[in-house]
């Protein structure tokens, strides 16, 4: 459940003043949330019990056809695994968010979320208000609440339950790093954020197991030209340059 105002959240992240919190919520397993974040906001997700799986979609806040492109996100940085320094890219050659901190290391950009048909086969039901909602069903509701629809639910990324690719191309589910890990995303432009907290689709457990995820967002600043991340790779630098040019032209930054 959310805490309102967010500044009343009892335990802000280290170094963050309570009054800088703009979003503070705990999302139960099998539930979802969504919000719009200003450029420069940091979003810290925490897996409280070791059984959360935060499936995430990002959209340019007022131009939602510019959205997370998982293929470009893994291809441009030449790496399939999300971690500190990874940039979550839109299909327009720009940075939506950057990963600024990560104590989990168990994430997935390749196998997406769960669908109604699959959850119905595995758990008996996958509808949104059942005991075992599918991630895609929750994403659709979150999208609809932002004026979007099923066409606007592209492949997502997920945090806190890992997948690794073997040399022969097969997948291995590596699961959770345990309770208390967190990952922090920095909004590099105004973002609509959708989060569905449901079991990872490759989670082999026969039961629908999903723990709560803590969602805290607070005012910070976007990555600038003098930050190490800006120049970490030639591809990333060009992505930040594209983003800055676009935002400057629009009068946002």
């Amino acid at each position: 459940m959310p805490v309102l105002p967010a500044s009343d959240w009892p335990a802000p992240p280290d170094g963050i003043a309570g009054e800088d919190l703009v979003w503070a919520e705990t999302v139960a397993g099998g539930n979802y949330t969504h919000n719009v974040l200003a450029r420069g906001t940091e979003l810290r997700l925490t897996d409280l019990t070791g059984d959360a799986c935060a499936h995430v979609l990002l959209y340019s806040a007022d131009r939602p056809w510019e959205r997370l492109n998982t293929a470009d996100t893994v291809k441009v940085l030449w790496n399939a695994y999300l971690g500190v320094g990874h940039l979550l890219l839109s299909g327009q050659g720009r940075v939506l968010a950057s990963v600024t901190a990560d104590t989990s290391g168990r994430h997935d950009a390749l196998t997406g979320t769960s669908a109604l048909a699959r959850n119905t086969a595995r758990y008996g039901d996958g509808s949104p208000q059942s005991a075992s909602p599918a991630g895609r069903e929750l994403f659709k509701l979150a999208a609809l609440k932002n004026g979007l629809g099923p066409r606007d639910v592209p492949p997502s990324v997920s945090f806190f339950q890992g997948v690794r690719i073997n040399r022969d191309g097969t997948t291995t589910f590596t699961g959770s790093a345990g309770p208390g890990t967190s990952v922090t995303l920095r909004a590099e432009q105004p973002l609509t954020v959708l989060i569905a907290n449901v079991p990872h689709p490759l989670d082999p457990r026969p039961d629908y197991v999903c723990g709560p995820v803590e969602v805290l967002a607070y005012r910070a600043r976007p990555t600038g030209p003098h930050d190490a991340l800006w120049n970490a790779t030639p591809e990333g630098r060009r992505a930040f340059l594209n983003t800055a040019e676009h935002l400057a032209a629009r009068g946002i930054a």
Partner: protein
């Protein structure tokens, strides 16, 4: 190597797709689409939609989930985001196709190769223009299949977009599991080995199997 088999049956459409061009068709349930790499080492970017509800479209993640791996070959089922089958690979003389690299775009090319490549051709241009003929737009583009492209993942997560393992005349045959709309972009990429740095023509054939 021959480019036809007894399985192909009556040809409905047979097109040579020149280097850099787009192509699309509605393939009826049970019919076959054969994509032939005429000259070898060419990448065929591919999207597929339920012809009657294009919000039901190819999902790379669902496809990878269901088959337990990132490479496509004979027996692979292309699933939608609703986890329903759209097409099945019923024959593949190449053996490995990519699910994770997505399409080149003018925008991603600026990131990967520099801003001087903005003026070059790209698959997203093809998908948008060809998709628009069927009422699709930017919102309908998702991670696509790359037939004949070889994108392995190293143990540390590094992606290789490496020399293809395709050769002249190799082909992939897909059976439509429901009425589908398919979009094909004959990849114009000249900056990496996926096309051998030299885009060449593909052949796209839609046929009804014998006995239908």
């Amino acid at each position: 190597m021959t480019t036809t088999t007894t399985r192909v049956g009556r040809v409905v459409t047979d097109a040579t797709v020149p280097a850099r061009a787009a192509w699309s068709a509605v393939v009826r349930a049970g019919s076959l689409l054969t994509v032939t790499d005429l000259h070898g080492n060419q990448a065929a970017d591919f999207l597929v939609y339920d012809a009657h509800d294009t919000s039901v479209r190819y999902s790379a993640p669902d496809t990878v989930q269901a088959q337990g791996g990132i490479f496509l070959t004979t027996g692979s089922v292309l699933l939608s985001g609703e986890h329903t089958p759209l097409m099945t690979v019923v024959e593949d003389t190449c053996g490995r196709h990519d699910t994770i690299g997505g399409a080149c775009s003018k925008e991603s090319n600026t990131l990967r190769y520099g801003h001087h490549t903005w003026s070059q051709h790209a698959c997203v241009e093809n998908f948008l223009a060809e998709g628009a003929r069927h009422g699709l737009d930017q919102r309908d583009l998702v991670s696509n299949v790359n037939w004949y492209m070889n994108v392995p993942v190293e143990p540390d997560g590094t992606l290789g977009i490496v020399d293809g393992i395709s050769a002249p005349g190799l082909k992939v045959v897909l059976r439509a599991e429901t009425d589908v709309l398919v979009l094909l972009s004959n990849c114009p990429q000249i900056n990496n080995p996926c096309n051998g740095f030299d885009p060449t023509a593909l052949r796209a054939t839609v046929s009804e199997p014998d006995g239908s």
